[in-house]
């Protein structure tokens, strides 16, 4: 298992480099000029000097190498410096955002908590809704509950999150006035009241994302439970007089969770992707919104870094899913 994990980790490195290169080459074709927002009165030679300072006169492979170095060497050093008060990164150039004129990673660090709060809790809520629905749907197959569960998951799967979000805003924040429609990122949770306010402003985006996730996961859960319920070991367990509750919750559930856990792990990156839209609907200034503004503002280092971070998430959670599958299911042997 350890050997497999190490092998997969080593294999992830070239994959990530190729993905980084693909994104870089794509962005390299961008028509925009990073100095377009500078005043026209700047003389051409100064403009040339500014281009040189941004490293734009270098050939693209040098810029890609530089970006790789900055992302994988300088930025971790900055993080270490920040955590332990050391000074490894002193005097080294970091990835600078063209629109904010600040290091990209600093802005990402500011925006990350909002995304993590919303996305993370939405995923947890989604999983917590999906698993019981999947269990009940499978145990009482073709019952009314199962029909409703299947229908709701089909709807949750089909209705795009931007429409559910807009609909919920119209109903719950415009007509009923229960929840705010705009996420207030300035809010500091200091006491009970502000905590409740935080919960209320998180409710709608979390619900939208959770519904979408629950729809997918509950379908997998139902299918997996149905697969296991017809196995011989279930008949054995029933034959030796075990009550149905123990059979379902101890024996079938544990075995059915194996594929579902990997599906849950595989779904994490796409939730971050889905959050791009949800954040736009509820005006949460998280990573997704940062990406949209960066694309509109032609801020290529920011777009490059964010896209790459999304790619890292995908590769990482693919790896986690594979490793988890091997750990949970002793029948799976990778070596």
């Amino acid at each position: 298992m350890l050997a497999f994990t190490i092998r997969r980790l080593l294999l992830a490195v070239p994959t990530l480099v190729v993905i980084g290169l693909v994104v870089f080459l794509l962005l390299d074709m961008a028509p925009g000029d990073p100095l377009a927002d500078q005043p026209l009165t700047i003389p051409p030679e100064v403009r040339e000097e500014m281009r040189r300072a941004l490293g734009l006169d270098q050939p693209s492979w040098v810029r890609f190498g530089l970006w790789l170095y900055q992302f994988f060497v300088v930025e971790p050093q900055v993080a270490v410096d920040h955590l332990f008060g050391t000074s490894f990164s002193e005097g080294k150039a970091r990835v600078i955002s063209w629109q904010f004129k600040q290091p990209v990673m600093d802005i990402i660090a500011q925006r990350l908590p909002q995304t993590l709060w919303v996305v993370g809790s939405a995923y947890v809520v989604g999983v917590l809704i999906a698993i019981p629905i999947g269990i009940v749907s499978a145990v009482r197959q073709y019952s009314v509950l199962d029909q409703i569960g299947t229908f709701v998951s089909m709807v949750g799967f089909s209705v795009p999150t931007f429409f559910t979000g807009v609909l919920l805003i119209v109903v719950f924040s415009v007509n009923l006035g229960w929840f705010p429609s705009i996420y207030d990122t300035q809010l500091q949770v200091t006491d009970w009241g502000s905590f409740l306010q935080q919960l209320r402003q998180m409710a709608l985006p979390v619900f939208v994302l959770a519904l979408f996730n629950a729809a997918q996961i509950s379908r997998y859960m139902r299918a997996s439970m149905l697969d296991n319920l017809s196995q011989d070991y279930v008949r054995t367990a029933r034959a030796k007089g075990m009550d149905e509750r123990t059979v379902v919750l101890r024996h079938v559930l544990r075995n059915s969770m194996i594929p579902v856990v990997t599906v849950i792990a595989l779904g994490v990156p796409s939730v971050f992707g889905g959050a791009i839209i949800t954040e736009q609907v509820f005006k949460v200034n998280g990573l997704g919104q940062l990406l949209i503004t960066a694309i509109n503002a032609n801020d290529l280092p920011m777009v490059q870094t964010l896209t790459f971070i999304f790619a890292v998430l995908i590769v990482l959670f693919n790896l986690i899913a594979d490793v988890l599958y091997g750990v949970l299911d002793p029948r799976i042997r990778y070596d």
Binding site: T15, V18, I19, V22, V23, L26, L27, M29, A30, P31, Y142, M154, V155, F157, S158, V159, P160, F162, F163, V166, L167, I169, V170, V174, P269, G273, I276, I277, Q280, V281, L291, I292, I295, N296, N298, V303, L306, T307, F310, A311, L313, I314, V315, N318
Partner: protein, 334 residues
């Protein structure tokens, strides 16, 4: 999913063999029937799928022939009649401004909502179908090549894995940003963006089809009829269209429905994020996006396009569900 009673007991092949004296010719006729008739029967027994198909056909016809039924230009600015409410609003609100000239109301510039919905549906469905077909062609091509030719398998599947690991939504957004202006200059604003969106969605959603098709082709290659065909010297260029492709049609059709649903959603998501079609060019996602600022006062303006997207995607997903059941020989004929 559906109960056995509805599965037409009189016509099923199983019940035909149980009949006391079916006679050899009827049996022959049944055996000679195309398997697609079986599939059709199983499909019709899936109520959701039939409803979905009916709705999809209805929406398609509505969008295709809508401009003749409702000959109002969606770009027409009827400024005197702007901000009208839908006609059904008069049922509970006597003071609401309604007019039969705009049955679903008009927007803040006086554009007719019904006409915009029809025009938007044409674009959304056209994008969905073409992008799905493109993804299907790429996916099937890659899958068949990788499954049939062992030399290409490694490279093509590495490529598939790599594309699967790409963050697709950010890349789609980046692609829209990068190629929008050049394509608009080359083909005009509408055709250019249409080509770009179709191409972008197509090249980012073929991977699942490719994987499924490759797996099926690998299994097919071991079957006797392929061996027999090969033993009489059938070259690959005849083997693939005649023996391989017809036998992988069922997974391709199922992934076609999934592809259509996700293509429609992706197009409207791009439009919703403001990186789709230009603003005077309605699609369902664009209509939804343009009116979100005024949804507090005019909820119907986001409701109708949103419902159109959701119901279309829902019906396509139900069709996919029914097709999967109908094409799975383990469930068929129950």
């Amino acid at each position: 999913m559906t109960d056995e009673t509805s599965a037409a007991p009189a016509t099923g092949p199983a019940s035909a063999t149980q009949m006391p004296a079916p006679g050899p010719d009827t049996r022959l006729a049944l055996a000679g029937q195309s398997p697609w008739r079986d599939v059709g029967r199983q499909f019709r027994s899936h109520k959701g799928a039939v409803l979905g198909l009916a709705f999809l056909i209805l929406v398609t016809l509505f969008c295709a022939f809508g401009p003749w039924l409702w000959p109002v230009d969606p770009g027409d600015l009827d400024v005197r009649n702007k901000d009208l409410r839908p006609i059904y609003h008069a049922l509970w609100d006597r003071e609401a401004r309604v007019a039969w000239a705009h049955p679903l109301g008009s927007d803040n510039l006086g554009r007719d909502l019904l006409a915009s919905l029809i025009a938007g549906g044409r674009v959304s469905l056209a994008v969905g179908w073409t992008a799905m077909l493109l993804a299907l062609v790429i996916g099937t091509g890659v899958g068949v090549l990788a499954g049939y030719f062992r030399r290409l398998d490694g490279t093509l599947m590495r490529l598939t894995d790599l594309v699967l690991a790409l963050p697709l939504l950010p890349l789609l957004l980046v692609m829209m940003l990068l190629f929008r202006d050049s394509l608009r200059a080359a083909f005009g604003p509408e055709t250019g963006i249409f080509l770009l969106i179709v191409a972008a969605i197509g090249v980012t959603s073929w991977m699942h089809t490719a994987r499924i098709v490759r797996g099926d082709v690998l299994a097919l290659k071991e079957r006797e009829f392929v061996l027999a065909a090969r033993s009489i010297g059938t070259p690959a260029r005849r083997m693939i269209p005649r023996h391989i492709l017809p036998n992988v049609m069922s997974p391709i059709m199922v992934s076609a429905t999934l592809g259509l649903a996700s293509a429609i959603i992706t197009e409207s998501a791009l439009s919703f994020l403001g990186l789709g079609f230009p603003s005077d060019f309605p699609t369902w996602g664009k209509l939804l996006f343009d009116q979100t600022d005024r949804m507090a006062d005019f909820p119907e303006r986001v409701l109708w396009p949103g419902l159109a997207i959701s119901l279309t995607v829902l019906s396509v997903n139900y069709i996919g569900d029914g097709l999967r059941d109908a094409l799975d020989p383990r469930i068929r004929g129950r």
